[in-house]
Symmetry: D5
Subunit: 147 residues, 10 copies
C-alpha cells in the first residue's frame, strides 16, 4: 500500500457519495484549500485530522496511518500540465514569472516568497460582466543572506 | 531588430540609471504589474503608452514601433524554471494544481480561470513573524459549454 | 475507479456493439463533436446526459457518477503525438502557428481565440479531385487588457 | 545568408513601415493566410510572387532568391508552444485530438486529413456576446490502402 | 480490451506456434509488409482480412472487431528508438534527412513524399561480399499549393 | 572556422547562383545522393573531390581542408524533426519500425541493416494517378554473433 | 507473454538460487559477457543454447521459444542512466566521445566501430593501489564509402 | 574568452596545418588518448604541457592560461549523440549496460569502475575479415562501504 | 519479484507498525543514513545485515536474498524532482554547482569528490531563530591523472 | 549588457591574472563559498561589496551596477549536468534524495530544509587513505502548517 492508493480511495468514495470538499473541510476543521490538498495526497495530517478523515471515508487503520506520513509531493503527471485549468496557472508563471520576480525583489530585495510558509484562499468574485475567480496567495518573504 | 532586443535595451537602461518599476509605472499610468510585464516583453502597448516609454528610456522610433506589436509571449528559458523565486511559483502549481482545479470546479463547474481577462496585485503584508508577500490574482471564470 | 476506466469501458462497448458516434450523439442530444469528446473523457456531462449514456452503454451508478465529474483533460500520451492523423494537426500548429497569431492579432489586437468558449464542426466536403475534410473552428476572441 | 534572415528582414520592414498582412497579400495576389505563412518562412514563392515581395520590402536579389527555395518548415521554438494564442491551438489538439481522429475515421475510414493539400481561412464572426474568431480548415482526405 | 492487447495475443500465438509473417501474409492475401504492420497494430483490416486472422490465431469475436477499428498508430516506445536495427533507420533520417529533402524538392518542387499513399518492399539482395537488405519505398508526391 | 560554416557557404553560393545538386554531382563524379549529403556536411570528401568542390564554389584552401575532415554527423536540429517532408520519414520509422525489424529478422536472423555500408537512390516514378517518389535503400546485413 | 517476463523469471530464479553468471555461461558454452547480455534480454539464443537455459532455470516451452526470438534491445529505462556504475560508462562517452571519434578517424578514416560485429571482455586487473576493472572492446571497423 | 574558444582555435589550426593527434601527443609527451581529450577541452594541462601546446599551435598567453584551468567537462551537444560513431558507444552502454553492471558486481561486489582513475588505449587490430578497433578501458574499482 | 517490491514491503510494514529509521538502524548496527538508503533500495546488505532486516520486517527468504543483490540505483522518478524537500537539494546543485566545482578544484586540482567512497550525517542544529538541518557530506577526493 | 557578461568578464580576468577565490573572498570580506557564488552570477552584492569587486577586477560603473541587481539564478546548462564533479552531486541527490527526505521528516516533521536561509562550508579533510572533501550544509528547517 502507498499514499497514492489512499488518495484514490478517498476520491472514489467522494465521487460515489457526492461529497463536497467544502463540507469535508468543515468536518476536518481546516480551510478548504489545505484540506483538499491534504486529501489529494500533498499534505500530512495529524492524528486528530486523520481520525476524522477515517470516519468520513471509511478508511482502514493502515490507510489512516498513511495519511500521517509525509508524502512525496507533486500532483501533476508531466512537467507541462495538459489540463486547461491547471495549464492557465502554468501560463501565468510563464508570462508573468519574470514580472513577479522583479516586483518582489524591488520591494524586498533578494530572496523568495515561500511556498512552505504559505497559504491560499480561493473565492468567487461577483462581477456583472461574468463572475471571477479570486485567489489570494500569501507566502513569507525569505531573504538570501551573505555569510 | 525584434522585441527581445528592445526589452534588453530597456532593462539595460533601467539598471544603468537605477530606475524603479513602480516609478516607471506611475509615468506610464498603469499598474506596476502590467507595466513591468509589458516592458519585459509580454504585453502590447498602445501609442500613448509607447510614447511615454520612448521618452523615459530614450528609444528610437523603430524600437517604439516594436512596443506596439503583439509579442511572442513566454518569459522563461526552460519548461521548469531554475530561478528559485520563479520555481516556488511553479512548485505551487505542482503541489496545489489539482487542489485549485477541484475547488474552482466545485464552485463554478467545468471551465477555467482566465489568464487573459486577468489581473494581479503584489503587496507587502506586514507580519511580526516576518513580512509576507501577498499576491491577489483575479481571472474571469470561463465555462465550457456543450453544443 | 477513475474516469479513464469509464472511458475505456465505453470504447470497449462501442467496438463490441459496432456503435457509431453520430448515433450516440443523436441519443445524447448534442453535436457529434462534443459528444465524442465527452465520451473520450474530455468533457463533463450533466445528469440528463449521463443518464442517457448509462442506458446506452450499460454503466453502473458509480460509473455514471464519474461522467458528471470534471475530468483531468488532455487526450494524448506524448507532447508530440505519434498518430499520423493527429500529428497532421500538430503540424498545422507548427507550420501555421505564427501565421494564425499574426492574422488574429491584425484583426482583433492582442488577445487569444478561446479554446473554452469554443465549438468545432467536422464535415465531408465533396470534391471531384478527392473528397476533403472540412473543419470549422469557432472560438470567442478574448482581449488582453491593461490595468 | 539563410531564409530565416530574410524572414527577419521582412518582419522588421513591416513593423517599421506599419504594413498589414492583408494589404501585402493583396499585392502578392494570394490569400492572406498563405501569404503570411510564406513571408514567415514556411512556404515557397514562385518567381512572380517573389518579385512582388522584393519590390514591397526592398529585398536584394540574393534575398529574393531565398524566397524561391523550399524552406525547412516549422515556425515554433519548442515542442509545446509558450505563447498563449498558439498554445490554445495546441490545447485544442490535446483535448480534441482523439475526437477529431474518431470522427474523421467514422466518416472516411482509415487515413488522414492532409496538411499539404490544405487551405485555411480566418474570419471575424460578429457576435453580440463578443465577436468570435472563425477558422475554416480544409484538407484532402488521404486513405491508407492495403497492398 | 484494446488493440494493444489483441496485438500482444497475436504475437504470443505466433511465437508459441513458430509461425512466419510471410506465411501469415499469404493466408491474409496481402504483402508481407502490410500484413506485418497490420498485425503489429498499425493498420486497419477489413472484414474478410480480419476473419482470416481470427481463424489463424484463434481470436474471439471481440478481438476480431478490434482489428477493424482504426488504431492509434506509432509502434515505438520512445522518440529516439533504442533497438539497434530500428535506430539505424532513425540514423538514416538524421544523417540523410536534409539530403532527401533537397533532392525531392529539386525534382518535384515544394511538397512531401506521402507516408499514407505509400508502400514498402523488403528483399534480400545477394552479394558476394555479404548479402544486403534492399528496401524499396514508394510514396506519392503531394505538392503544396498556394491559394 | 568549422565544417558548418563551410556548409553554409556552399548552400549560399548554390542559392545565389541557381545551381542544381544533380549538376554538382556530375561535376564531382559521384551519385547525387552521396554528393548532396557530403556538401550538406555529412560525408568526408577525398582530395580530388574536394578540389572539384573548391573550384565550383570558390572555396578558400582552409575551407577545402575542412571538406576532408570527418564531420560530426546529424543534420537535424531536434530529435523529432519539424519539417513535414523529413517528418514523414520519421513517421515511417515510427509506424513501420517494428515491421521492418520483424521482416529483416525473419529473413536474416538477429542483426541490423547497415547505415554505413549503405547507399540510397531517389527517383521519380511516373504514375497516372500522380507521380511518386521511389527511394531504394540498400544496406549490408550485419549479423550479431555469439562469442 | 513477452521476452521481458522471461528475463524477469530468469533473474528471479538466479537470485533465489544464488547462481552466478560465470557458472551459467559455462553451462551455456559461451562467454560470460554474451551469456549475461542474452539472459538479460538483449541477445537471441539458438535452439541448443535455449535448451540449456530451459533446463537450468526450469522454463516452460513457451518461455524457451521466446529466448529464440530476436528481442527489442535496449536495457536502460532512461536516456541518461541513473545507476552510478552504468552512468560512469555514459560519462566516458560524454567526456571521451569526441576523442574516440578523432582517434578512430585518424587511424581508419571515416566510418564507425561496429557495435554488432563486436565483443567485450571484462577482467579483474590486480593492482597494489587497488584492483582495477579492465574491459576490452573489439569492434570491426566499417568504412563509409562514396557511391 | 573561455576554454571553448581555445579548443576551437586548436582544432582550426590542426585542420589548416594538417596535423595529427599522434604527433601532437608525442610532442606533449603523453598518450594520444589523454592528449586528444585535453586539447578537445576535457582535461587540465600542467604548465609544461601547456607551454608545449602554446608553441605548437601559436597560442597567446591568455589562451595558454585557459588550458591550465579545470574545464566544464562533457563534449557532446545532446543527451543522445547523433554522430554514428559516437552513437555506437552510446548503444553499447544501452545494450550491454546491465550486463557490465552484473559482471562487475559479481566479481567485485557493490561499487563502480572509476571514470576518473581511468585510462583508455585505442589500437588497430589486424584481421583478415576486416581490421578491428580494439579499445582497452582500465578503471579502478571503487567499493561502496556501509558506515 | 524484484528489489522494488521488497522496498515497498519494507515501507508498508514500517508505516503500519509506526517504526522509526533511527531505531531500525540501531538494530542493523549501521548509521541511520546508510540504513535508510539501504532499505529504500539503494545499497547492498551483507548476510548479517539482511538477516536482521528479515527478522525486523518479517521478510521471506527470497525477499532477504534480494537485499543482498546490488540494486539498480536512483531513487527519484524524474530528472528534476517534484517533491519540495528533494527539489531544494537539486536547487542547491543548480545554484551552487559551479561554486562547489571552483572551490574543490582550487583546493585539490582537477578531479572529483567521490559519491561512492562517501558518507553523510544529518543532524538537528538548535538555533534560537528556528532550528536548522545540518548535513555533513564527506567524500574522498579522486584526482584525474594524465597518462 | 547583462549579468552573464559581467560574470564572464570576471572569470576572464581571474584566469588571466591567476587570482584565487580564497583571496578574492578575503578582499570582499565574506566566506569563499558565498563570494564565489556571487561572482559566478548567483548572488546579489551590496554597494560596498560591489565596489571592492569593481576595484579588484577593473569593472566599469555599469558592470558594477549589474552586480547589485538580483540575478536570474541557476548556474548549469542542462537539467542533468554533464561535468563529472557536478554530476556526482546530482547523483547524491538521486541516490540519497529519498533518504534525506525520510530522515529530515523523522526528526522535524513535514517541511523542508531551506536553500535560501542556507550556508555552505567546504574544507579539506586530511586522511591517510587519501584526503577527503568535507562539505557542511546548514539550512533552516521550514515547517508546513495546516491552515
Amino acid at each position: 500500500m502507498d499514499r497514492q492508493q489512499v488518495t484514490q480511495k478517498i476520491i472514489s468514495v467522494k465521487v460515489a457519495q457526492h461529497m463536497r470538499w467544502t463540507d469535508i473541510a468543515a468536518e476536518v476543521g481546516q480551510s478548504k484549500e489545505w484540506t483538499t490538498a491534504a486529501l489529494l495526497g500533498q499534505m500530512t495530517l495529524n492524528r486528530a485530522q486523520a481520525d476524522k478523515v477515517q470516519a468520513l471515508f471509511g478508511l482502514t487503520d493502515e490507510e489512516t496511518a498513511w495519511l500521517q506520513i509525509v508524502p512525496y509531493k507533486g500532483s501533476l503527471e508531466s512537467a507541462v500540465p495538459t489540463d486547461p485549468l491547471i495549464y492557465r496557472w502554468y501560463e501565468i508563471v510563464s508570462v508573468y514569472g519574470t514580472t513577479i520576480k522583479e516586483l518582489i525583489h524591488e520591494e524586498f530585495g533578494d530572496g523568495i516568497m515561500s511556498a512552505i510558509d504559505f497559504s491560499m484562499d480561493i473565492q468567487r468574485e461577483a462581477d456583472p460582466k461574468g463572475d471571477r475567480v479570486q485567489v489570494v496567495l500569501s507566502g513569507k518573504f525569505l531573504p538570501y543572506k551573505s555569510y
